[in-house]
């Protein structure tokens, strides 16, 4: 009984010790951030971009110098690796964002709460929305306008549109029925996520001379069941791989083996299972023209044969 009574006391003592240590660390952390203090006294400048696609756009139009902070998943161009990270879609770090004293914050349209907070700090926001292929160049022009690089953005947007149009011309008249897979459980044909009938992946497929087998389902992505894949009988399968440490030859081998389980699929019988490796396929940024070109070359090699 006596031991029981002394317990709460010792717990309280331990707790207060912990709190003291924690506060000490906290105070030390605040005092140590001299760079933060510097940027606080300076006038607001620079752009914080939570959206990898927009970060790429900013660097591509020569506004890279203005970028003061990026999101957790930004990794292109290589310069972004040295920049402060301010969270991402689900975990934006408002404090860190504000401490960078940006003039403009690029955030996702769905981050309404963050938008209110940033705006109440007197900072301009650029709400980004995932959309179609044409939305990519539209976003590029808007962000160029927002950072005073209108001419550069316009000319880059035009060149992207020109390159995509050139691909369209090359593959004119071709409609290869294609399944575009952007995620799948390795070594099996389970948990297949594919491009649906809307969004930039679908548009990229169309531009590359393909007909998306799921074009009737107006969604950006769908989980493709075994039955629907067999019933829709694609003539080609394209698997996208991205992220770190992806060895292309291993991925191709794995994909060919896995798809042999649906050996009667026209795409498998014709040997048209392609694996494309690169972040440009999933980041709807300025590299999208490269992505469309690679897609078209993989699916219609004859259209790009030297004349």
């Amino acid at each position: 009984m006596r031991a029981g009574r002394s317990n709460p006391g010792s717990i309280a003592a331990a707790l207060s010790a912990c709190l003291t240590v924690a506060f000490g660390l906290f105070a030390g952390g605040c005092g140590g951030g001299s760079t933060v203090a510097d940027s606080r006294s300076a006038p607001a400048h620079g752009v914080v971009s939570l959206v990898p696609a927009v970060t790429e756009m900013l660097f591509a139009i020569g506004a890279g110098q203005q970028v003061a902070g990026v999101g957790s998943f930004d990794n292109y161009p290589p310069e972004v690796r040295a920049l402060p990270r301010v969270g991402a879609l689900i975990d934006p770090d408002l404090e860190r964002m504000l401490s960078l004293r940006p003039r403009l914050v690029v955030l996702y349209e769905t981050q309404t709460e963050l938008r209110t907070q940033v705006e109440s700090a007197g900072i301009e926001v650029f709400p980004y929305r995932h959309g179609s292929l044409s939305d990519i160049t539209a976003t590029l022009r808007q962000i160029g306008n927002g950072v005073g690089r209108t001419a550069e953005a316009d000319s880059l947007a035009e060149s992207i549109e020109r390159r995509i149009e050139a691909v369209r011309v090359r593959v004119r008249g071709r409609r290869l029925r294609t399944l575009l897979v952007f995620s799948r459980e390795p070594h099996t044909l389970r948990a297949i996520f594919a491009a649906g009938g809307s969004g930039f992946l679908h548009d990229m497929l169309e531009a590359a001379g393909c007909e998306n087998i799921f074009s009737d389902l107006v969604r950006d992505s769908i989980q493709a069941g075994t039955e629907s894949i067999i019933a829709r009988a694609p003539d080609a399968v394209v698997e996208l791989r991205y992220g770190t440490a992806v060895e292309e030859s291993d991925e191709i081998l794995e994909a060919r083996r896995s798809w042999m389980r649906m050996g009667s699929l026209p795409a498998v019988r014709a040997g048209r299972v392609h694996v494309l490796v690169g972040d440009e396929f999933v980041v709807p940024g300025p590299r999208v023209a490269v992505a469309v070109e690679r897609l078209a070359r993989a699916l219609h090699p004859d259209a790009f044969a030297p004349e």
């Binding site: 998943f73 991402a88 879609l89 689900i90 975990d91 952007f182 995620s183 459980e185 390795p186 070594h187 099996t188 044909l189 389970r190 948990a191 996520f193 009737d216 389902l217 769908i222 989980q223 069941g225 075994t226 039955e227 629907s228 067999i230 019933a231 009988a233 992220g243 794995e254 389980r261 649906m262 050996g263 009667s264 019988r269």
Partner: protein, 349 residues
């Protein structure tokens, strides 16, 4: 040795037909329902399939889309649903008796949380290994399930000589929360597409795309069903209390251990095949008890059969209601099972 004549006079009421006949009639009725469901379910789906074309020998299989849909897409799915449904429902019965708790499910003791942790790690770290045709995610899920079974058993045995059901329950519930916390922590650090795939795995998916995943789970479920065949009498007595069971000649620890391991391993195998599909393990046993009474000799086989039929029907709904899109089957079972269970609770109260 147990005396067969002395068993469960309190369950077998006066005026009821003898147990053999009841078991036979129940098995015949539920078996008929299950068989019919399993035969009819492959005929429906998101695309029309013509049976005359399916069995038309003149069309080679690679050209015969109807046959491909039936044999590659639908039949494995129906078999997986039947296997997983039967396993989860009967494991639910066993856990409810073992823990003497009507709210126990096959997932109460942390098996599914361990499996989810394994699956999540395999997805997040893009584990790329395979044993035969079985890929990393089900393998990791099964390993996680085994790990949590071992931990819970170790904890429950540590306290005293027997298998403390209270410790089992508390250890299981705590392990569930602990594993969930680890899952959330890793998810917080993972990127969005991996998180999405993990969440999708947690909703359950029976589109196994072949027979191998089912074949891999069969040994564990068959072993469990063989064990279940020995259990009903002991479970009847255990449901009343350990002392009562012991005084009537049940080797309590042996029965508990058999019940715990067989039901846990079978649950682990089932979760590896289809993900943690909820509500089957709690709703089906209660529904079956409502229909046939509480005697485990009837409830256990009837639950297995009804669980199979129930999940086959739920999966049929999952793949046709929004066709050509598919609903995760775990959503369907919970949508049907949830309201039903609440109704049951209110009615019983």
């Amino acid at each position: 040795m147990r005396s067969g004549l002395l068993s469960v006079p309190f369950v077998q009421g006066v005026g009821q037909p003898p147990i053999r006949r009841r078991v036979f009639v129940t098995l015949a009725v539920f078996g008929g329902i299950t068989l019919l469901t399993c035969l009819l379910a492959p005929l429906a789906g998101s695309t029309p399939v013509h049976l005359s074309r399916v069995f038309d020998r003149s069309i080679p299989f690679p050209e015969n889309v109807d046959a491909q849909i039936l044999f590659i897409a639908r039949l494995p799915r129906v078999l997986a649903a039947a296997l997983v449904g039967a396993t989860l429902a009967s494991a639910g019965v066993v856990f409810q008796a073992l823990l003497r708790n009507p709210l126990a499910t096959p997932f109460t003791l942390g098996v599914s949380a361990g499996a989810a942790l394994g699956a999540m790690l395999a997805i997040t770290f893009s584990l790329s290994l395979a044993v035969g045709a079985i890929s990393a995610v089900p393998l990791a899920a099964f390993a996680g399930a085994c790990g949590s079974v071992a931990i819970v058993y170790g904890l429950a045995r540590a306290r005293r000589g027997g298998l403390s059901t209270n410790v089992l329950l508390l250890a299981g519930v705590t392990l569930n929360s602990f594993f969930s916390a680890i899952i959330l922590f890793v998810q917080y650090l993972a990127d969005a597409s991996q998180t999405f795939r993990t969440v999708r795995w947690l909703m359950g998916d029976l589109d196994v795309a072949g027979y191998w995943p089912i074949a891999a789970a069969v040994p564990f479920t068959v072993a469990a069903f063989l064990a279940f065949a020995y259990l009903p009498r002991s479970l009847n007595l255990l449901a009343v209390g350990e002392d009562a069971a012991s005084s009537r000649g049940v080797d309590v620890l042996r029965a508990q251990r058999l019940a715990f391991f067989s039901a846990s391993m079978a649950t682990g195998a089932a979760v590896s095949v289809g993900g943690p599909i909820g509500f089957i393990g709690i709703v089906v046993p209660h529904l079956v008890r409502l229909l046939v009474g509480a005697d485990h000799r009837v409830v256990l086989p009837a639950s297995a059969l009804f669980g199979a039929a129930f999940l086959v029907v739920c999966d049929l709904g999952a793949r046709t209601v929004m066709a050509p899109m598919e609903l995760p089957v775990g959503i369907v079972t919970a949508m049907i099972g949830g309201p039903f269970f609440l109704w049951l609770l209110v009615r019983r109260a």
